[in-house]
Symmetry: C2
Subunit: 259 residues, 2 copies
Amino acid sequence: MDSSIPPAAVNRRTFVRASGAAAALAGAAGFTLGTPVAQAARPALKGKNKVILFQGDSITDAGWSREKGAQANTQAAMGNGYAWLAAAELLVDRPNDGLKIFNRGISGHKVFQLAERWQKDCLDIKPDVLSILIGVNDFWHTLSGGYKGTVATYEKDFHALIERTLRALPQVKLVICEPFVLKCGAVNDSWFPEFDRYRKAARGVATTYRTHWVPFQSMFDQALQYAPPAHWAGDGVHPSAAGASLMAHNWLKVVNGLA
Amino acid sequence: MDSSIPPAAVNRRTFVRASGAAAALAGAAGFTLGTPVAQAARPALKGKNKVILFQGDSITDAGWSREKGAQANTQAAMGNGYAWLAAAELLVDRPNDGLKIFNRGISGHKVFQLAERWQKDCLDIKPDVLSILIGVNDFWHTLSGGYKGTVATYEKDFHALIERTLRALPQVKLVICEPFVLKCGAVNDSWFPEFDRYRKAARGVATTYRTHWVPFQSMFDQALQYAPPAHWAGDGVHPSAAGASLMAHNWLKVVNGLA
């Protein structure tokens, strides 16, 4: 772990400051930092008029319209990926709850690039629920794009992004999604075991801040029993319709507190 | 209603014979035949080693492999539609429950054509859970295919199919899905109000036999707030990936008893 990352005790204090009620709940139930994250988190989507923001890279982006992105809820503004499928299911399930759902994933982005546009593309939107899926490019671009960052860079930047988010939006409910790949297309043995370290770093961020956690890699690993990798993601990175549907389902299961 | 359909009292006796425990439960809770169906039905998917069969027309078919259809659970055997998406979500959620999921939807079929192949394509498979989506061709082919059947034909054949199913498989849990269309592509004003009578007939079958009911039409009607009809089904009849994903989600919600 990068030495610049605050120790768990400091993060714990940050968390307590940010969300005292949640910490009390977690404490009462005997949760510790090692407890599975999804169990420690509470349902994120109770209540009316919530703003939900999806953040990430091309997997989240999926072609949302830059012209129409200021609108909430429409397909054009949400793209054609898991974020849109999850949004559509939520909106159809809860048409009278005043949900406003936005997508600000941008293709090719790494965590430091989220930070560069975080004020405009996250903090100004003031989400009640913020979902982040980031990490595959942080590794992939070291193989193919000349990017010099390491897993320590990723981890440090990701922790800093969450700290900054919690300072600006102390009540935000965070959903961190596990970066994933399938072994086909662009993904070969050269990705491993290094890519697994990025997954673990993301999980570490979720554990430190007791966020919701959507285990996409283990979901896809399970799904390989029922269809080959290319059926879920042709190039190993970008989900097919079936892959996106599975992601939406599991995202909702975690975020709705049904898991 | 066609005069050959048994009156409700007869169907009620058939139901009681077929599923005494369910009837007792329904009776104890004060349900009547007019009670919303989904509330009267119990969760269909508890337990291990259940066989689930999807039946219907092209919407269910979605290209399942006739060569590999004897296999359970694989994508090739399940096609690329809502049945496969629902199956994938179930299998990933419950990998250790020994579920076996089959698809026997056939493109172009009407309810009388299900009856023609029912022994081989349903009763011999001995499903624990049987999901049926049928009806759009029963109407559509009267517009474009020279088919002479009416809504009374559809209703009579559908009741007879369910009676036959319950005689052969008294313990089967039935899921009847609402036929639906979106007003785009092949679907124009000439479909209405006649098509609505087919939807009501399907609902009547579900009510009579107290099956699970998946309200796809009202789901899609709701979804039109968030994307235009063609985004859900380009030709008005066959769902897009987004439409199929929404169907799978709602099917699971009803069948898992979470609704």
